[in-house]
């Protein structure tokens, strides 16, 4: 294509000498701006005790904010609640997502439509989704309790959001409803891309369906599972609006995830130093969790493979 080469002309030579830099620089700049710059600000702020609304200057407290936070049993418990939420929601979504993917991997025009419909919950604004669920779960006029009663599955209305266990069920159900499709569709793409030869060979050898799935399909699916789990884990750590609307941390503080605490400290009280320290600690925990996850899950799978 000599024409194209001439058109690009001088730019071309520069692009050749540092093609990667030129191609990557704009994207990296935006990412630096929105992640590294705030991170530096937070790191710096976390060493001060100050309130954005107070006219006094902030007081340098060194690691004081961190000491306070780590010394607070509530905050440590809320960290635990966050981890529990991430682990249970991602596991649930992976389990159901795998089943759904297997069901969808068969052939048929109706299944193509089904896969399209499956995406829809992902498209709902999370805060709206939580409001709708709150209405559906209402024991007095919600559809869920009404139909569970009609079907004879429960005798009395269940006050879902009033007890820790049921509130957690509701929260996990909402999260799974919205994000299981994401997992299922990644796994579906994996299933459909798998080579059929190993399965056919095993079938000839007389292997059962389940053992074929367990020993052939599942291992081949590993990279897809890793990606689904990774992306969902990162996202689950960011969950905020849905929990705020559905439970607001209740009952008691049974569903008080760290993001809710940070929100209250940062954006309702504007205790920026404390909030920044909470944010930094949170970032550290997320990074460690993700790295461990990568180390364990991605042992034989290189998601960055070149």
């Amino acid at each position: 294509m000599p024409d194209v080469a001439r058109l690009i002309g001088p730019q071309d030579r520069r692009a050749r000498s540092h093609p990667a830099v030129l191609l990557l620089a704009p994207a990296v700049a935006v990412l630096l701006l929105m992640t590294v710059a705030p991170a530096i600000y937070l790191l710096w702020s976390s060493l001060f005790r100050f309130n954005l609304l107070a006219s006094e200057a902030g007081v340098f407290v060194g690691l004081g904010n961190y000491v306070d936070i780590l010394g607070s049993t509530d905050f440590v418990r809320h960290f635990g609640i966050t981890l529990l939420f991430v682990v249970t929601s991602v596991s649930l979504e992976l389990a159901i997502g795998l089943v759904v993917a297997v069901l969808l991997a068969r052939k048929g025009p109706d299944l193509r439509i089904a896969a399209g419909l499956l995406i829809l919950p992902m498209a709902i604004t999370p805060v709206v989704a939580a409001l709708v669920w709150r209405a559906l779960l209402n024991p007095n006029y919600g559809w869920i309790d009404y139909y569970l009663q009609t079907l004879g599955l429960i005798e009395e209305p269940v006050a879902w959001l009033s007890a820790p266990v049921t509130a957690w069920i509701a929260l996990l159900a909402l999260d799974a409803w919205q994000w299981m499709p994401f997992v299922a569709l990644i796994l579906l793409a994996g299933l459909q891309g798998l080579p059929t030869e190993p399965l056919e060979a095993a079938a000839v050898d007389g292997a059962g369906r389940l053992s074929m799935f367990r020993f052939i399909t599942l291992p081949m699916m590993r990279p897809f599972i890793v990606i689904a789990v990774l992306l969902r884990t990162v996202d689950a750590f960011k969950t905020f609006g849905t929990v705020q609307v559905l439970t607001n941390g209740g009952p008691g503080d049974a569903t008080e995830i760290v993001n809710l605490s940070i929100y209250r400290v940062a954006l309702q009280n504007f205790q920026v130093g404390t909030a920044a320290a909470m944010g930094i600690l949170f970032l550290v925990v997320v990074t460690i969790v993700i790295q461990q996850l990568l180390r364990v899950m991605a042992r034989n799978t290189d998601v960055l493979e070149d």
Binding site: A29, A37, L53, A54, P157, A163, G249, P251, G252
Partner: protein
């Protein structure tokens, strides 16, 4: 003081100082440049803060004023109703933005923390004010100035003094201090000489009131059945003991009818329920007194919380799910005809399709009485470039004539004359006896403690209340735990608490 040349503009957001891409570029520069946006220095102010009363009349009349207001919580419909009149009277356009409670609080605090001049007029809820005395413009200078204030329109004596003091009167540097002035008459000079300032004019006074199904209470069949069971006449309860009986009487789950709603879910509303009962059982409904003493972990507090829990768990007079109810769900539950009574901050009504009638009463009393109350006020942003005009506007919006007009959209007025007018105003006939009851409730209401970190204290209390309501903790344990946490929270400010 002159107006900054680049007054914030409404309109197409693209048309800022720079174009869109330039905007992105500037953001990058702003982030990288060592502009001193360190934590020790808050962002530079957009408009310098002038001392109040400095010849405000000289400022040029703006084409419009920007107002940040609450959604339903402070009755935004009332403001919308009045805006055309204001624009006709002054030629100044009001650009109104509104948000519901949590989002509004975040917005108000964010705007003030950034020292933004954008909103000239901001609605402030009582619990926020202690943290904002440095950001909200003191008004005593304007009030005395004939150039900006019309004494007849302001009629400051007409504000209910208790509501006025609780809402608008603060000491700038010690925002926890409460002004105890004349209960009959608001006196600006006395407020000033006591070292206090006026930070806004009250617009919407909310208090907890009792809503009940008039049709049920007046039904001869119900009356006879009640008499047969309790040996006395069925009447709207005036004591908490009666409240339990009446609520039990009306609780018929198989007919989808329960005694009462409560607001026991995790949120500010549960704290308000608790402090109302705390006062009713003889405690100090403020929960934390002027000397930062925590006064809720007391026999009265335990009795109040035990009573609350018993309604839900022992007498079971509340609908299922009450321990996750907010004011929103309490309202829609009563509206759907599910309860005979309800306690809320507004005139709860039945949905249109339902048969039945509603009336209102004051919250029952116990050894003491003190329904929760909290008032919204219109305040002037101290960073605004149009402060004198913003003041004129809030004086106009809170005036007796305008508040009376706003009654039609159920404004909860802050002036005595408006409560008088409500008695005969045909426009409010549909509200029944609500305004009468609201006025009476305000007279005995108990406000919130003045703490810059009330939000934190609030959350500790509502968590404790919710834990007791769901049966996860006993009243004594929950309050002891909350007491320790509130102490920590107060020390952190730091307040001299021990």
């Amino acid at each position: 003081m002159t107006r900054p040349k680049t007054a914030p503009q409404r309109g197409a957001p693209w048309r800022t100082k720079a174009g869109s891409l330039l905007g992105a570029a500037l953001l990058i520069v702003a982030a990288c440049a060592p502009t001193g946006v360190g934590p020790a220095t808050a962002p530079a102010s957009v408009a310098p803060q002038s001392s109040s009363g400095s010849a405000p009349s000289e400022a040029a009349k703006p084409a419009s004023l920007n107002m940040l207001y609450a959604a339903g919580e402070a009755d935004v419909d009332a403001i919308k109703l009045a805006i055309p009149d204001f624009e006709a009277a002054t030629g100044i356009k009001i650009n109104l933005d509104s948000q519901p409670y949590t989002a509004l609080q975040q917005k108000v605090f964010a705007e003030l923390a950034a020292k933004s001049s954008f909103y000239d007029i901001i609605v402030i809820d009582t619990p926020w004010m202690p943290a904002l005395t440095k950001q909200i413009e003191p008004l005593s200078g304007y009030i005395g100035d004939p150039a900006v204030s019309d004494a007849k329109q302001l009629a400051i004596d007409d504000f209910i003094p208790k509501v006025f003091y609780d809402t608008a009167v603060y000491n700038r540097d010690q925002s926890q201090l409460e002004y105890s002035g004349s209960p009959d008459k608001v006196d600006v000079a006395a407020i000033k000489s006591a070292g206090f300032e006026i930070y806004g004019l009250p617009i919407q006074a909310n208090a907890l009131t009792l809503t009940y199904r008039k049709d049920l209470f007046e039904s001869p069949a119900e009356q006879a059945a009640f008499k047969a069971k309790y040996g006395r006449d069925l009447a709207v309860p005036t004591t908490w003991d009666e409240f339990t009986d009446v609520a039990s009487f009306f609780t018929r789950p198989s007919d989808r009818l329960y005694g009462t709603t409560l607001m026991a879910g995790t949120g500010d509303w549960a704290t308000d329920d608790f402090k109302t009962l705390l006062a009713g059982f003889g405690g100090n409904g403020k929960m934390v007194d002027g000397e930062f003493k925590r006064v809720f972990n007391s026999p009265e507090g335990i009795a109040a919380l035990t009573y609350y829990s018993d309604l839900i768990n022992k007498h079971k007079v509340t609908p299922p799910g009450v321990t996750s109810f907010s004011w929103d769900e309490a309202g829609s539950t009563y509206a759907s005809g599910l309860t005979a009574m309800s306690m809320n901050y507004h005139n709860a009504k039945l949905n249109e399709g339902l048969a039945g009638a509603t009336a209102y009463a004051t919250i029952p009393a116990g050894v003491g009485v003190g329904p929760h109350f909290g008032t919204w006020m219109l305040s002037v942003n101290s960073f605004s470039a149009n402060k004198p005009w913003a003041y004129r506007a809030i004086e106009w919006f809170t005036s007796s004539a305008v508040q009376t007009k706003m009654l039609a959209t159920q404004l909860h007025p802050s002036r005595r004359s408006v409560y008088e007018a409500a008695k005969t105003d045909p426009a409010v006939a549909s509200f029944g006896n609500y305004y009468d009851i609201l006025g009476k409730s305000l007279a005995v209401g108990v406000g919130r403690p003045r703490l810059t970190n009330y939000g934190e204290v609030d959350q500790i209390i509502w968590t404790a209340v919710n834990n007791v309501a769901t049966g996860a903790a006993t009243p004594a344990d929950a309050l002891r735990d909350a007491d320790a946490k509130v102490l920590e929270a107060l020390k952190k400010v730091p307040y001299p608490a021990n």
